[in-house]
Assembly symmetry: C2
Homo-oligomer: 473 residues x 2
């Protein structure tokens, strides 16, 4: 087992960006190409805890697929890295220019290109954010369910194979991307997939691109599945005597095949932080937040089944909500968890874990990791998309305190090894980026990494597409 690369041990080896490339970009893109320090700085970081590395040498604000293709073609000519940028909400250092190069910002490519309500599909540019998309299709009675928390760009969500609270019912980006337009490392534009719901037509390039974190191509168009807004939605919160009780309720819910739309765990720690932050007066016990989608009768049936399961595990203080306003209130605790935690320790940052295990191992994995964290005394919050076996510890550290950093990293490391030994994965939804390169090696093994490496070398022989991420070349 290899230790992950701690952020402060990160190898930063920027290749020099040739001034000729910058000049060529300025000539081709004019005002769409910025060299301003503030703009470059903004594009050289994300939401991760990584120490800052020098920012990209230039930022190209692409407005079309042709812009992306031209920028990549120029970068290829000068063998210089290119990093796609959506809204900067990555948690794993995906956007850092660790080998230098330029940033291609696709946020201006933010048009919903076509909505096909009768086929339940939509085609968008990569800079469209998920909230924008849902706003724009609201009148059709349809919605795009994937919700990773942040108002991420659809392109970024593809690149990291994002998921979130609704995935237990609607799947992840893996299941919900039908087709892509992608610019390759050679600056060539290709299309993968069609609007057909299924296909056996050759290699699944769509799913090869989804989750490739900008290392195999830059996504310039995305066709997604969308869903009818449920006729009825019902939400509930419920407190449990222990994490184990809450988790066993979830396990039984999933095993019974209840099509629950959301089921989130918040530990007692986090409830306490949220109570303090937002004066919610919630019972300071582990809590499940649930949501049911379907017909009125179907939702009622699902809710009754889960309520029965919860009761048999000591669940109490059930609170139900059916109107949007009541639902929003119930979900306040979940939505505020991160901010409440950060506020609980002034000046701190959160190091977030992202393991995902087979659901039968969830209780074991959680309880052991909680004991481990409690033993160190480091403060943390714990939330989870427990219906999928995915959860996040957020260890709250003082970024200037190397000791705390090491403690958090050690806990994360132990948690990942535990998850892997239980048949799980080091990242349920954040991606590998920089932080999890060591973990990925442990998880996939050298043989599978070699296969990834071979594909990367073949498709991007100059190693210009977001180099230094996922695995070392």
């Amino acid at each position: 087992m290899n230790a992950p690369t701690p952020a402060h041990h990160l190898t930063i080896a920027p290749r020099a960006t040739p001034p000729e490339l910058v000049a060529a970009l300025q000539q081709r893109f004019g005002a769409q190409c910025s060299l301003a320090q503030a703009v470059r700085d903004q594009h050289g970081r994300d939401e991760s805890v990584f120490v800052s590395v020098p920012p990209p040498a230039a930022v190209v604000f692409a407005e079309s697929t042709q812009d992306v293709a031209d920028a990549i073609a120029l970068a290829s000519q000068y063998e210089t890295p290119v990093i796609a940028f959506g809204v900067g909400s990555s948690l794993e250092g995906h956007l850092l220019a660790v080998q230098g190069g330029i940033s291609i910002d696709v946020s201006r490519m933010n048009n919903v290109l076509s909505v096909n309500p009768e086929d339940l599909t939509v085609t968008v540019q990569p800079g469209v954010t998920r909230k924008q998309l849902n706003e724009e299709i609201k009148s059709t009675g349809l919605f795009f369910p994937i919700d990773p928390g942040a108002d991420a760009s659809i392109g970024g969500m593809c690149a990291t194979r994002a998921s979130g609270t609704n995935a237990v019912r609607y799947g992840t980006m893996r299941e919900n991307v039908l087709a892509l337009e992608v610019v390759t490392a050679q600056g060539q534009t290709i299309r993968t997939g069609t609007r057909a719901k299924k296909s056996s037509a050759g290699y699944d390039l769509t799913r090869l691109m989804v989750g490739s974190e900008g290392t195999l191509g830059i996504i310039t168009e995305v066709t997604l599945r969308i869903y009818p807004l449920p006729e009825a939605i019902s939400a509930a919160i419920c407190s449990f005597p222990s994490i184990a009780d809450a988790v066993h309720t979830v396990i039984e819910t999933i095993q019974l095949g209840v099509p629950i739309a959301r089921v989130e765990l918040i530990d007692a720690n986090t409830v306490r932080m949220v109570n303090q932050y937002a004066k919610l007066g919630l019972r300071e016990q582990p809590m499940l937040l649930m949501e049911f989608h379907g017909s009125p009768a179907g939702v009622k049936e699902q809710a009754e089944t889960v309520q029965e399961l919860a009761s048999s595990h000591g669940g109490q203080s059930f609170e139900w909500a059916t109107t949007p306003e009541e639902r929003t209130r119930l979900w306040t605790a979940r939505h505020n968890a991160y901010f409440a935690a950060i506020q609980s320790k002034p000046g701190c940052r959160a190091i977030s874990t992202d393991t995902c295990v087979p659901i039968s191992r969830l209780a074991d994995c959680l309880l052991d990791s909680i004991s481990e964290a409690d033993a160190t005394g480091i403060p943390y919050f714990l939330v989870g998309h427990v219906g999928d076996g995915n959860f996040h510890f957020g260890y709250l550290i003082d970024p200037d305190n190397a000791q705390e950093f090491e403690t958090a990293e050690t806990l994360n490391h132990k948690l990942v090894q535990r998850a892997l030994s239980l048949g799980g994965t080091c990242t349920g939804e954040h991606g590998v980026g920089l932080h999890k390169m060591g973990f990925l090696r442990d998880e996939a093994g050298e043989g599978a990494i070699d296969m990834m490496r071979t594909i990367k070398r073949a498709l991007d022989p100059k190693n210009i597409l977001n180099p230094g991420k996922i695995f070392a070349l």
Copy 2:
């Protein structure tokens, strides 16, 4: 647009299989390696209409992953093709040794390795068939829903990205394979994926392998999602005045988000053939066969909704079934369609199409293709997994009549071009194999094919894994 390669124009360029390789296989595998003509012949064909090509030079009956790895390593040493064989139910020439080489039969690797009912996963060897799997897990109250018709091997179903009647509710092999063990072209064994339900851990090698038709690796272990047997199942058949009425009922069902488990179309032609074959006395009109899975109340609700939609489109003669025996009777028409059709024209073979279109275009695509087929006078049957927009014409041809062959190929060609122009795919579930290589070029474009080719060359530089399939190298 390029014409597809008709079977009788197939380029057959067997590389000579070195006698040294055959000797080495015999030494390593003893009685597990067969050179018998009958065995070789059986492994040199599948269910496709392709003219026969010389069979593989030897058949290795692998009994373990190590056997597969050793056979591939030897084949690699002698730069000789290897073709994996499950049960031989491919419809697209996947198994034909068009460049010579050896067959690796995995049918003896037929153990269910582990069942994890509490995680809804199962891990099997590739030679396990889908019916065997469902038999072996019956006592757990769980089932594996993917049903391509034939009792195919799970390995083969992975390789072709199979689906079938239940895909509208449960997805295809793309959605239901969690992890694989694969032997690479170098004879190395790797693992892709984990038992976690979702992951963002690097390139999606699992889905790259699923649908790669044995050209990137040979699958030696498969972890699948399984599902709780529905509490209630209800089936129905319903006749419609026209194909358009039946299809519009389906379109509206899907658009409303009704989680229908199966919805199959049979045209009047086929009903007539089935009536003659099995004396069913069905109304000789287009017909939908449907199945609903869920709680008793949920199933009732779904059925009522669909019945209402059907009635508004002239649906009549609704017949319902809830017991397994009654359901089997109702599904007789669907299950007998192929045999009834073949019997309707003695000595004929069926050339099957496999297009899949966005559901809103289904009626247009079907009706135009029916007119076209009717105009030629060629007999055909028509069945479809219409909830997914996927359907199959089976043109009934005399295999010795070149004219009929050409007519069927021309109809197929026109249908594929129509489907592509409507945003669809040339193959919903059969795969590309030999028959659809031209169609894939039309569908994916040279850029995407180039990417597939680059991946193939990188992972299999000696081109030994099922060469000559999917695309020309």
